[in-house]
């Protein structure tokens, strides 16, 4: 049933993309980008999942298992958890950059409508 998670991540990505393409409001465009970003977190965590597995943690292993048996046993993928951890923090900082630019645009043009930002056009 993990396929459902993959489809949910793809749907979330498309929803974000639709917002980025069709919205004029810059805040909504940033929200769309954040949504696309979140879809990758869902995809990575879903890819890390293994049915019936335990956490990739060698301290206090489940009953009947030792750390060394866990190393070769059925555990979730720790590499994708690593990607997710770092991506969340970078995502927050990058969203901060987008929003700061939006605030500056709002201050300069008195508008957050992408159609009003025309200084660079021809």
């Amino acid at each position: 049933m993990i396929l459902f998670n993959y489809f949910a991540a793809a749907a979330l990505f498309c929803l974000g993309l639709y917002a980025v393409i069709t919205r004029r409001n810059l805040i909504k465009i940033v929200l769309g980008l954040s949504l696309m970003e979140s879809s990758t977190y869902l995809l990575m965590v879903s890819l890390a999942y293994r049915s019936g597995s335990t956490a990739p943690l060698l301290v206090n292993p489940p009953k009947g298992q030792t750390p060394s048996s866990l190393v070769h046993g059925n555990v979730a993928d720790p590499v994708l958890q690593n990607f997710c951890l770092t991506a969340v923090i970078i995502g927050v900082a990058v969203t901060g950059v987008f929003l700061t630019v939006v605030v500056r645009i709002a201050q300069h043009y008195n508008s957050i409508d992408a159609d009003d930002i025309r200084a660079m056009r021809g």
């Binding site: 498309c14 004029r24 890819l47 993928d77 720790p78 923090i89 630019v101 008195n110």
Partner: protein
Amino acid sequence: MARADLHRPKLGLLLVAAVATCLGAAVFTLPRDGAPLPAVARYAMEVAIPKWHTTEPVNEIVYGTRGFDTFGETFLLLAAVVGVVVISRSKERRRTVLLEDVLASEEQLGLRGGRARGGQKSPESAAAEQEERADDSAGPPREPHSRVGSREPERATAMTVVVRGGIRAVAPVLAVAGIYLAAWGYSPGGGFPAGAVLTGVVLLAYVAYGHRAVSRIVRRNTLENLEMLGAAAIIGLEVAGLVLKGSFSANVLPLGQVQTIRSGGLLQAFSASELIEVSTGLTLVIFAFLSMGSDWTEEESHDDEHGRGR
């Protein structure tokens, strides 16, 4: 004229449908929940205890096996923070003489015969400075004609005693929990989530006591220096491996006993530096963002003269 909120929705829908078809097809090729673990994941778990004395493979991957990747991401974060800080800078008072270049070239050509010497300003320069001074002393920060958003974040005052009391009780516990996440590196946690928790504590204090009270304690200069210190520590730790062991990100610190706070060696030091980097970086981003608000464009005509070309 009122505009539709959506811009070319049908074309957008068509493009998104095309992307969705590609993603839908790709989903079927992804490994399912019964697939074997990739070799790098198995390797990280195999070396976690013998090589690093840690029982937390995720931390071993973040700061050990894929340490170079984390190193790059740290500087991506730093670049984003620097970007926000630079873009959000408020207007600074001019410190040089206006039209200095014009005066200098005239003086060099001998046109003024030393009139500008001895601290005397030319009429053009004096007039320009007077105009700017009038601009600066025009009272409170300029308001736009039609305001976009409100200025509540800057003017926010403290919340009720219930909220302040609640947050005063919770904030120290959260701060300790955040530091615990990084310090007890052999169990789930590490510098990244710990830094985010500490930023959350600062945000809680902002919510409870308002921007003015918190900005007296959370000083931008101190945070910037701490952030640079964290970045320097990360560079030092990673390069030390290259110099002493011939491999970037190799462990150069003594490994403590398994399941103690010194057990990870370099992992723990990297994680602690990352805690400083992430917590100060995110706090800087959020406070830079909240402090933006006094640089509103004055009016369209002024804008056309000076603003558009900037």
